[in-house]
């Protein structure tokens, strides 16, 4: 197994172009599990830790550009106020030790349907900044996940950054697991309210081959919410929202949970996160 250690972003892109089969490694918290359990040894590892540019984040026009090397711990500490949904999900990733090393970009690279960052990224219409020696492009998050552990990156592309708009309303995340730490989500859900455009964003995790949104649920809820009067959400509306979220999923039975449980739990999480978000919006 070769170990490639570029020290600049340009060198990293050149290395990936030359060795497209190389697996990028940042915190290592996902890649190393596969190596330790001998589930497959990559032909080469491309260590992105020495690339200093990736450790920065910046802010422009209401968007944050989070470098691929920013750890969950730093995201929570430094960006939690502007990205509450992603920060909440980040606080549930792995364990404190894992959060010190793991990154959102790593979660995207791995593209596991159970990754915790995916639902809030979907709910807030994030963009993935992919780059290769051929150039740079922005991939809308909804087009990024292609299948179980498959994403839209070309073989010569690396993730440079994730771009997420500042929260323009309440955002909440919920996940089900058997332990506080180190849980691979049985299923998870994120909601974001966008009062400026009277819209609703959703993200479902671990309940389909890829993380996905629940477009019908979003459209329904956006039309039902009393954005101006801020009156309470009728139980019937919340229940229907939960149903539509659950209907958007296509979960399977596996070691972590059954299909039926996931469908049920998603509806509960959808109602619950909506309750939290609307309470915050009403300012009570």
């Amino acid at each position: 197994m070769d170990f490639l250690r570029p020290t600049t972003w340009a060198d990293a892109l050149a290395a990936k172009a030359e060795r497209p089969e190389a697996t990028p490694i940042q915190g290592g918290t996902d890649v190393m599990v596969e190596i330790n359990l001998d589930k497959g040894r990559p032909a080469a590892l491309l260590d992105l830790n020495p690339v200093a540019e990736l450790r920065d984040w910046s802010s422009e026009d209401g968007w944050l550009r989070i470098g691929a090397g920013v750890s969950y711990t730093r995201l929570i500490d430094e960006l939690g106020d502007r990205l509450p949904g992603l920060a909440q999900a980040s606080r549930t990733v792995g364990s404190p030790q894992i959060r010190n090393r793991g990154t959102v970009a790593g979660n995207l690279g791995a593209a596991s349907p159970a990754g915790d960052s995916h639902p809030p990224l979907l709910a807030s219409d994030a963009l993935v900044e992919a780059e290769s020696v051929r150039g740079s492009r922005l991939i809308p998050i909804g087009e990024f996940y292609l299948g179980v552990k498959r994403n839209a990156l070309e073989p010569d592309e690396l993730i440079r950054a994730v771009r997420v708009p500042y929260a323009d309303g309440p955002q909440y995340f919920s996940k089900i697991g058997t332990r506080n730490a180190m849980v691979i989500a049985v299923c998870s859900f994120a909601v974001a309210l966008h009062p400026s455009r009277r819209g609703v964003g959703t993200g479902i995790g671990s309940a389909a081959p890829t993380p996905r949104r629940a477009p019908e649920a979003e459209e329904f809820l956006a039309g039902e919410l009393d954005w101006d009067g801020r009156t309470a959400v009728p139980d019937e509306t919340a229940r229907r929202f939960g149903e539509l979220v659950a209907r958007a999923a296509s979960p399977i039975d596996d070691v972590r949970g059954t299909r039926d449980y996931r469908v049920h739990a998603l509806a509960v999480m959808a109602r619950r996160t909506l309750g939290w978000a609307w309470t915050e919006y009403r300012g009570i």
Binding site: M1, D2, F3, R5, I25, G27, G28, T29, M32, V33, I35, N36, L37, R41, L45, D47, N49, T73, I76, D77, G80, D81, R91, T92, G94, S95, P96, Q97, I98, N100, R101, R179, N180, A181, M182
Partner: protein, 162 residues
């Protein structure tokens, strides 16, 4: 093979390891520092927790070559009042998780001192987060103790911070 240098518990160590060797295996097998334990080898148990430049990480999910020229502290290099309080409060039974628990607690206290919130912190704006038993349990949730000495561990950490 890769020739690297690493500062471990204050002394510069030379290592000649294959790129696939984890930091945990490098410490245990190459440097003979067996205080750091291998539990699950997949990041779930926390027994292999060490400090990298003061930050707690699980050494099983770290490649040794990624930590070239970094400063690693293992339990052999820790001197903390926590060690006595773990003994006083029976913060263990078999002891296998203890070195990871203590390294993790040392890192946790540094994070807390820097104002880092946890998943159970209510008011995120507050600068002075009180380390209640609930906060300690959440912040130590990356370390399992299969003997179930959690009450002793929490008590030891509570005493250690007083």
């Amino acid at each position: 093979m890769a020739d690297i240098r690493m500062r471990v518990n204050g002394s510069i160590e030379k290592l000649d390891v294959e790129p696939r060797v984890s930091l945990l295996d490098a410490l245990r097998e190459h440097l003979g520092l067996t205080g750091t334990k291998k539990g699950c080898d997949q990041g779930a148990c926390g027994a292999c927790t060490v400090l990298a430049d003061g930050e707690r990480i699980v050494s099983c999910l770290a490649l040794a070559v990624q930590y070239a020229d970094r400063d690693i502290t293992t339990i052999e290099g820790v001197t903390s009042p926590l060690q006595r309080s773990f003994v006083r409060h029976d913060g263990f039974q078999c002891g296998y998780c203890t070195s990871g628990q203590i390294c993790s607690a040392v890192g946790m206290l540094t994070e807390h001192a820097a104002g880092a919130p946890s998943a159970v912190t209510g008011d995120l704006a507050t600068m002075e987060i009180e380390l209640t038993a609930e906060e300690i349990r959440e912040r130590m949730s990356g370390n399992l103790c299969r003997c179930g000495a959690y009450n002793g561990i929490v008590a030891a950490i509570e005493e250690g911070i007083r």
